[in-house]
């Protein structure tokens, strides 16, 4: 009798457990999907049905990969197989943002965390998926706003450089027009040699390319682009920016010197944005030095590996330094000490550097100059070819 009671009680508990488990699965806000070690779906809760548009009956026993877009769909079986052998987890126990595929084919982003249960032979995997779409929409709007602001500010910096840029384009145009005129006159004078004309034509071509190069550099910065981060050699980036800002400096009788660390590790950045920051800092340095006197005419741009995973870029000027009353407001938007400045350059620069996982700082000795430095995380194992 007693034994019978015990069995009843156990059954009741077991039933309760199943009911509780069912309640737990159905009440969960996040989608819960359990698969076996071959990837076949064992459990598909109500939130999952809602999220993916499938009824549980439609997917139970099916391979989970149909809920993923390519290339993950094709690779998933291999992942599972490899995991059985190597036990090297790519996602299990970690969790990350992935794209998921709705029944109607649309893709949406989710935060996926995966846990492993059971033993080696009868193991299964529990996936919990949190929908990020709603969150993303808000973030996306903010992000777009910020990108517009960044672009706006970049155009502002370029606007300040108009005189220098126009000069830089006018020089080759002047040379081209004058070379062409000389050519025409030589031909009219009859006494010309074909080789002489060919030589001048070659010079014209070189000057046209020179003008084109200025425009290319400009276009890269002026065009609004989708933020794209890729492996970048900061030394090369510095050289490119110095070419662009150099004219402006030159017109103001200022030299830009680079002091670059050789074998600088690469960084993963949006290179247009980092160019923008550097350009901004150089522009500020030029402005700070325009009436500093003839012996103070050098801007130094230095790259340094300050730790195995951090690179620091410094822009050192010999200008008037930063006035005490500006120090606290320096990075606040719309505070400017310049007659025509909008005062968003430094604030945008800091936003850009921070979003790259770095920081932007400055040191200033009034009357002697200011140094602005930013650091960016590097990829330690990859080295650039610069010697």
């Amino acid at each position: 009798m007693k034994g019978h009671d015990k069995t009843l009680k156990a059954e009741q508990y077991a039933n309760d457990d199943t009911r509780l488990l069912r309640a737990l699965l159905d009440a969960a806000v996040d989608a819960i999907i359990v698969i076996d070690r071959y990837g076949l779906i064992l459990t598909f809760n109500r939130a999952a049905e809602h999220m993916f548009g499938y009824q549980a009956d439609e997917v139970l026993g099916q391979n989970v990969k149909q809920l993923m877009p390519e290339p993950y769909q094709s690779e998933h079986d291999v992942y599972l197989h490899q995991y059985q052998i190597t036990r090297q987890a790519k996602i299990i126990g970690i969790g990350r943002e992935v794209m998921a595929r709705h029944k109607d084919g649309t893709l949406f982003s989710v935060k996926l965390s995966v846990g492993e249960a059971g033993d080696h032979v009868n193991g299964y995997f529990v996936g919990i998926l949190h929908d990020l779409t709603g969150l993303r929409q808000v973030e996306g709007e903010l992000y777009k706003q910020q990108q517009r602001m960044v672009h706006f500010s970049r155009l502002g910096v370029l606007g300040e450089m108009t005189a220098g840029i126009a000069h830089e384009i006018n020089q080759p145009l002047t040379a081209i027009s004058t070379y062409a005129e000389a050519c025409a006159r030589l031909i009219k004078n009859k006494g010309y040699k074909a080789a002489e004309i060919a030589e001048i034509l070659e010079l014209i071509r070189a000057q046209a390319l020179r003008a084109g190069e200025v425009i290319r550099r400009l276009r890269d910065l002026a065009v609004q682009h989708d933020s794209e981060r890729c492996e970048t050699d900061l030394n090369k980036l510095i050289i490119e920016v110095v070419k662009l800002a150099g004219v402006d400096a030159h017109l103001n009788d200022i030299k830009i010197i680079t002091d670059l660390e050789s074998r600088l590790p690469l960084v993963i950045v949006d290179s247009v944005q980092i160019q923008q920051v550097l350009l901004n800092l150089i522009r500020n340095a030029i402005d700070a030095m325009t009436d500093a006197g003839p012996e103070k005419n050098t801007i130094v741009i230095r790259s340094n590996k300050i730790s195995p995973e951090m690179i620091e870029i410094s822009v050192i000027d010999q200008g008037h330094g930063i006035a005490d009353e500006m120090v606290d407001k320096l990075f606040e938007p719309f505070h400017s000490s310049k007659a025509h400045g909008m005062g968003i350059g430094l604030s945008i620069s800091r936003t850009i550097i921070t979003s790259h996982g770095g920081s932007l700082k400055f040191e200033s000795i009034p009357g002697q100059g200011a140094t602005f430095k930013f650091c960016l995380p590097s990829i330690p194992e990859l080295l650039t070819g610069v010697d």
């Binding site: 020089q171 004058t178 070379y179 005129e181 000389a182 030589l186 000057q207 020179r210 009788d253």
Partner: protein, 205 residues
């Protein structure tokens, strides 16, 4: 063009512009000399140079404007044609105020530049002619005795011989002799010509 010793001095820090201008000037049969900086030209400069300057207004180190002012201080009369970039109009106005012949905005019509060079050479030749004449008049004046000089100044001021004689306490006859010597030494055939010579000698001194 007939300005035998005239040289076009091209001063521009941009190698390509400098070279193209040299070729253009060579193609019309003029002599040129090109310099990459204002300092480089100053080292080369002597008062005997004739011709004109084609000068870039913006250059690192010494600007075109600085060079113009330096040359003015040194008494140079070489005409200057400025070539200017974008947005240099205020500087160009400054240059004109200091006596520049003209300014051309880059990129310019080459015919315009050649025309201005022609004007400049004409002006320089005129200046030089004027200077030679002035020198000659000044040396004639220098050959006068102090007394003759006194008499000439009074004659030119319109005083009659009688008045000069009284003022200088001389006999009228002596004044007439001095006056004749002045006309001879100054190579003037009439009073009007003498007045003109004296005015030219003191012109922009």
């Amino acid at each position: 063009m007939t300005y035998s010793n005239a040289t076009i001095f091209i001063i521009d820090d941009d190698q390509a512009v400098r070279h193209a201008l040299s070729l253009l000037i060579k193609s019309v049969g003029l002599t040129f000399s090109a310099f990459a900086s204002a300092q480089e030209f100053l080292q080369h400069y002597t008062p005997e140079l004739s011709g004109c300057l084609v000068l870039d207004i913006r250059m690192p180190g010494m600007s075109g404007l600085d060079l113009q002012q330096q040359l003015n201080k040194m008494g140079s009369t070489l005409p200057i044609i400025f070539i200017t970039g974008h947005g240099d109009v205020p500087m160009a106005v400054e240059a004109i105020r200091h006596g520049a012949l003209d300014f051309l905005q880059k990129p310019f019509r080459d015919q315009d530049l050649l025309d201005r060079i022609n004007d400049a050479l004409e002006q320089d030749a005129g200046n030089r002619q004027h200077m030679v004449e002035q020198q000659s008049i000044l040396s004639r004046i220098a050959s006068l005795t102090p007394r003759e000089r006194e008499v000439m100044d009074m004659v030119v001021n319109g005083s009659a011989n009688k008045v000069i004689a009284i003022d200088l306490n001389l006999s009228q006859r002596t004044v007439e002799i001095h006056r004749a010597r002045v006309m001879e030494k100054m190579q003037a055939r009439s009073l009007a010509q003498l007045v003109k010579l004296v005015m030219r000698a003191t012109d922009d001194q």
